[in-house]
Point group: C2
């Protein structure tokens, strides 16, 4: 009998195929091995092929837009939103419109074209997290912006168009829909129970144990009870914290550790499959910090969404979360 499960934050139901739970071998193979490329604009020595950098980690104090960087952030050459201009809002009859003001940056995670996050050293991984935090804090100072999204597409099936390891950062003039839904759900829960729903979820995960993937002093990684995708995995701070950008040095090091650990497990179990991950954190200046709890959602790209999912928002998940967690935990 399939199971219908309800997400406790946003109230979304999902269908879990509990009778024929699919393991890693049941999905199409999608091995992402980087090839040597002579023309990659993200490689050192080609800094002039990107727009001028907005930030970088340069341990040897090399000059901006030259080689010698560990992490480098540049404006996206093909931005979905434009940084220059003022935010204009207009009503067109019953419709609403805003100018497409925002920022769209590319965070080049390392200089080596053939090295992915899973092969980074501890220092390299920490430099990425530190740059995530730095860019977030910088963009949050722009008064036109309400939200900053950090996300990564790994592999072409996940939408990566450049192979060289990178993330993207988009600053938005409004809070996006999925975050608004989480905020509303978490506020509603807090109003009735006086507790953070994510903190309760963490307690529940420690009690049930079966969906836990990994942990360290600051973070828990687990497969959520009502995921939308097979092998979906979340990384969440164990202590209550609404805002990613407020994490201290220790938490940054622990985040670098657990993110890399989970990505290694995903890579091993799912044969180097494509994936997306993105940060969900409180909007800029959000006051209800007792309600919300930031986290990272990692989504391996194993299945394709079709008409039914688009039309209903009801996802059909072919793998039981506890099975996915067991595969990842034992990897």
């Amino acid at each position: 009998m399939p199971e219908l499960r309800r997400d406790p934050v946003v109230g979304r139901w999902v269908i879990i195929d509990s009778e024929h739970s699919q393991g890693p071998a049941d999905f199409p193979k999608d091995n992402n091995t980087p090839t040597h490329q002579a023309i990659c604009p993200f490689c050192p020595g080609r800094e002039h092929q990107t727009p001028p950098e907005v930030d970088a980690v340069r341990p040897l104090k090399s000059l901006a837009n030259t080689a010698g960087w560990l992490v480098r952030t540049v404006p996206n050459k093909f931005p979905v939103l434009i940084a220059e201009g003022s935010l204009q809002k207009e009503g067109i009859g019953i419709y609403d419109q805003m100018t497409g003001i925002g920022a769209h940056e590319v965070l080049i995670e390392g200089p080596d074209h053939e090295k992915s996050l899973t092969e980074f050293t501890k220092d390299e991984m920490q430099a990425v997290i530190s740059q995530y935090r730095g860019r977030f804090r910088q963009l949050a100072q722009d008064r036109r912006f309400k939200y900053v999204v950090i996300f990564k597409n790994y592999g072409s099936s996940a939408g990566a168009t450049v192979e060289h390891t990178h993330s993207q950062i988009i600053a938005l003039p409004m809070v996006p829909k999925t975050v608004l839904e989480e905020l509303k759900g978490a506020e509603h829960y807090h109003q009735y129970r006086g507790r953070c729903v994510f903190c309760d979820m963490i307690a529940q995960e420690y009690q049930d144990k079966e969906r836990i993937v990994a942990e360290n002093n600051s973070f828990l990684a687990f497969c959520p009870y009502a995921p939308r995708y097979a092998f979906e995995t979340w990384i969440i701070p164990k202590g209550h914290s609404a805002d990613f950008s407020s994490i201290d040095e220790t938490a940054q090091a622990n985040l670098a550790q657990i993110l890399q650990d989970v990505l290694k497990r995903v890579k091993k179990v799912l044969n180097n499959a494509s994936y997306n991950y993105y940060f969900h954190t409180a909007p800029i200046g959000y006051a209800n910090t007792a309600c919300y709890h930031w986290h990272i959602e990692i989504i391996p790209k194993l299945t394709r969404s079709v008409g039914f999912e688009w039309g209903t928002g009801l996802h059909i998940v072919p793998t039981m979360p506890q099975d996915a967690a067991r595969f990842l935990r034992e990897a």
Copy 2:
């Protein structure tokens, strides 16, 4: 400058790339031409290869589960929800679960393996609509069900696994998320303005004109102001109506006409691209019929959703709706 546009029903913002609006030639080709198949289980003469039919249109009164049908509905051999059993709800700590009770049917739209909806005669097309309505009304009588979704996946990129022309019908024990969002948005609008938001949208579309694709006496087809996908097109009854299954004979004939007309335009303009369509109608027994307005959403499969869309719910639409509508209108 890109444009941010807000959907007036659910409040979702989308980014429209208004500077580089993509035309039909800018998307990858994905031509779905059916091949002759010797082993299709949906072809006449192989009725025993599907579960026994639950309904059919048989103009010559042929026997059930034999050839001679015009439309034939059978239970899905691999159902996502199971019809047999009782609906059990359970709390697992902070999580909620239900047994996966529902119905999952396949509606085989016609006997000819190589004929798609766009090539159907008027009578054949009307038989499909009549069977949609008949199955909806039948399933709506089961007290375990709260919602019936009718949808179609055309082409393998849209998730079709069998080439022979068919739709699917799923009955659910709860109202799915996207419909709930529309209901809430429409109720909210009605509460403040005393009018149906969809009726207002139709009036606005007639005023603006530029997004209209086609119309007949009963229906309007248009590209919505804030779509999620390039060339997204809606078909909506011009008169207020919450429930698809209440449509009369004339409206059924007009729906058959406009649905086929729009699909022909989509096929011609987008080079026989894959698409999904699905019905959004009021839940079974829904009382607020003054607020809601049923419609069909047609989504050509031209782009792929990636981490950013999943993480934010913010879609990036590469084609201006008025450009899409012009291409479809002039086809």
